[in-house]
């Protein structure tokens, strides 16, 4: 199934002085999907997003939004998109409903603030001052503001950073609801489980470059059909790594944890158990799992997403 794209980016470049923040990236966002930019802090996700939100202008490259080619995101484009900013703050001394009304006034065809209020489940806080809201409530308000114009394209810049697990799951269900109602979502995050759970397409960024792109399954599948076996080796991690390299492929040591990639789980397990019995090293906290985006990033860059 191939759907037309609401947003396309070709060879986008952005410098900050000598630093190359965005280094020649290209992608297109399929309509009705959640498109995720994944990468560690400083990878260039936010800069890319800021360019697409119209906060910054690219040094080079082309943007095609809603079928129009633009140098910079303009008002016409903004009418059709909604944005959740990373540190999106509101006047502390405005009431929730007033904030929604204020932003509604910026659009030609806004939705009714009451509807939005119901949607973000803040009806009972309609008359509360922004400064009295909790972190989760504030984030819901920010989402409501992003949806006030019933946008076709929604930008969510790290929507769950700093939220507790409960609030995070709430946001996830909001995002799922967005695609269910046919909206297209561009998301940035540095939580790989968030990217895996929410997105149809993931774009992995590092040092301003796009290093991989595809559906989460596709990306992990590219690592091969391996399964990963992990255990904590504690003090004897060093010798364990050496000993196991002789018997298994792709042994990695990271912070006392040995991880072994294998395409023959049964044989590897047997060898491990034998080794453990011979050396007396217990296989503490042993786990067998499928590779995830974190492993993809690790394989591509040799580093973890979050250090």
């Amino acid at each position: 199934m191939h759907r037309p794209s609401l947003l396309r980016v070709d060879h986008l470049v952005k410098h900050y002085g000598d630093v190359l923040a965005v280094d020649d990236i290209s992608f297109s966002v399929p309509t009705g999907e959640v498109f995720t930019l994944l990468g560690p802090n400083g990878a260039g996700k936010t800069t890319t997003l800021e360019i697409l939100e119209g906060l910054r202008e690219a040094d080079a490259g082309e943007i095609e939004a809603f079928g129009r080619r633009v140098r910079r995101i303009d008002r016409v484009t903004k009418e059709r998109m909604g944005v959740l900013l990373q540190e999106g703050n509101f006047e502390p001394y405005l009431r929730v409903k007033e904030v929604l009304r204020l932003f509604a006034s910026f659009f030609r065809a806004p939705r009714s603030p009451d509807d939005v209020l119901r949607e973000i489940a803040l009806e009972e806080k309609a008359n509360a001052l922004v400064k009295t809201l909790s972190g989760g409530q504030r984030q819901r308000l920010a989402i409501g503001v992003a949806l006030i114009n019933d946008p076709e394209l929604v930008f969510l810049d790290e929507p769950t950073t700093g939220l507790d697990p409960q609030a995070r799951r709430n946001i996830w269900s909001v995002v799922a609801g967005l695609t269910a109602s046919g909206k297209t979502v561009i998301l940035t995050t540095h939580y790989m489980e968030e990217a895996e759970a929410l997105s149809q397409t993931v774009s992995i960024m590092d040092h301003g470059k796009m290093i991989a792109q595809g559906a989460p399954r596709e990306l992990t599948a590219r690592l091969g059909q391996e399964t990963i076996v992990e255990f904590a080796a504690g003090d004897s991690a060093g010798e364990a790594e050496q000993a196991l390299t002789t018997c298994c492929r792709a042994v990695r040591l990271d912070g006392g944890v040995i991880s072994i990639e294998t395409d023959d789980l049964v044989a590897t397990m047997r060898r491990l158990l034998d080794w453990s019995r011979e050396t007396g090293v217990p296989l503490a906290e042993m786990a067998v799992r499928q590779p995830n985006l974190e492993d993809v990033f690790l394989a591509l860059t040799g580093r973890r997403l979050r250090d």
Partner: protein, 398 residues
């Protein structure tokens, strides 16, 4: 629609924030009331009492002048209708050593426990008698001791001088040297306010209004813009179709609305609580007020454009605030200022706006030509607008 809602949001957030509310409304009102209470009383009888010591060394039987003065002093120390008397009189105890008492009272004066010590020297009355007979002019005088560095002492000393002058006049009459029926007629002519009575609050009100507009523009504008920028509030606007010109229009409208609210409150308190009578509700006066509000709005934009951070902007506003306010003749008439300060005063738009407003309301004769009073603030508006257009950043930069 967007312009109106931006203006509305600006006004209501300003009114809801307690600290803004204080500086914007409470502070001008407080200053108005305080200064009216303090300076509105100057020259009128001050309801206060002074601790006054009287040591009379000249209390012989024929000491007419000394007795008259002591009597006059005692009158001021008498209580009528239960209120505190003007003087609380301290006299030497009977049979006490008066010289020693004087020494100890002078010490009390030095440390601030007496406002004034009055000493009537021995032989004062005789010397007055001699002068009255035309033998010679009086050789002795009443000694009024005051303490340096205390205003209360100054005030009490000046009251005692008046008492002495009054006693002198009655002595002259008693000696038959002065014909009371030929007393000089003295008249007081009041110029400058037409038929109305003019009070300190009338002088103060235009100054307070301008001060309110001035601090509002100087602090409110960069505060809202720079903190809005730093807290990413503005950024939230720029990702919508709202553009800078519309935001600016809404912002300016909101600011002028706030100034109107402030104007109404200050005027209301001055008019109904303090009895001010200044013709503010005239088209020309209102136009001048609008002009002033716009000038200060522009200066606020200049500060916002020059400052890199919100805190820097506030600091800058604080630094220019005082010289501009005090060197603009808002509260004190500007006398002959020395060179550099005079230059600051002449470049200061507050000077011109104050002169313009006082002239139009008849609260002071204008001393500057109208062309300058309009031209100089206008030049400020143009310069500020140009600088702001070139330098003001609307979003956080990296």
């Amino acid at each position: 629609m967007a312009v109106r809602s931006i203006a509305r949001a600006y006004i209501i957030t300003s009114l809801r924030e307690r600290i803004t509310l204080f500086w914007f409304l409470a502070f001008p009102l407080l200053l108005l009331v305080l200064l009216t209470f303090v300076f509105g009383n100057v020259g009128n009888s001050v309801r206060t009492s002074f601790d006054v010591t009287l040591v009379n060394f000249d209390d012989g039987r024929d000491a007419r002048a000394a007795a008259a003065l002591a009597g006059a002093m005692a009158t001021l120390a008498a209580t009528e209708d239960g209120t505190a008397p003007l003087f609380v009189l301290h006299l030497p105890p009977v049979d006490a050593d008066r010289s020693a008492f004087l020494v100890s009272e002078l010490n009390e004066l030095r440390v601030g426990r007496r406002a004034v010590v009055v000493e009537i020297p021995l032989g004062l009355s005789a010397s007055v008698d001699a002068a009255a007979r035309g033998a010679a002019s009086a050789t002795l005088a009443v000694e009024i001791h005051k303490s340096g560095g205390r205003t209360g002492s100054d005030m009490a000393a000046s009251i005692v001088e008046h008492v002495v002058a009054g006693v002198d006049r009655s002595l002259l009459v008693q000696y038959g040297l002065f014909d009371e029926s030929r007393t000089l007629r003295v008249e007081r002519l009041e110029l400058g306010a037409g038929a109305r009575t003019f009070r300190y609050v009338d002088f103060l009100l235009p100054g307070i209004l301008l001060m309110g507009f001035f601090t509002g523009g100087l602090f409110g504008v960069p505060g809202t813009l720079l903190f809005g920028r730093e807290r990413r509030i503005l950024r939230g606007y720029w990702v919508t179709p709202l553009d800078v010109p519309h935001y600016l229009a809404g912002f300016a409208l909101g600011h002028l609305g706030l100034c109107a609210i402030q104007f109404a409150c200050v005027w209301g308190v001055a008019r109904f609580a303090l009895g001010a009578d200044v013709p503010l509700w005239r088209p020309l006066v209102l136009a001048a007020l609008l002009f002033a509000a716009m000038t200060f709005l522009a200066i606020g934009f200049l500060v916002a454009a020059v400052a890199r951070t919100a805190n820097g902007g506030m600091a800058l506003a604080n630094v220019v605030n005082m010289p501009m306010m005090f060197l603009g003749g808002l509260f004190f008439p500007i006398g002959q200022l020395p060179g550099a300060l005079r230059a600051v005063m002449l470049a200061n738009p507050v000077t011109y706006l104050a002169d313009l407003l006082r002239g139009l309301t008849g609260t002071a004769a204008p001393v500057l030509p109208v062309a300058a009073s309009v031209g100089v603030p206008l030049a400020w508006i143009v310069v500020c607008a140009l600088v702001a257009a070139r330098r003001l950043q609307w979003d956080v930069s990296r």
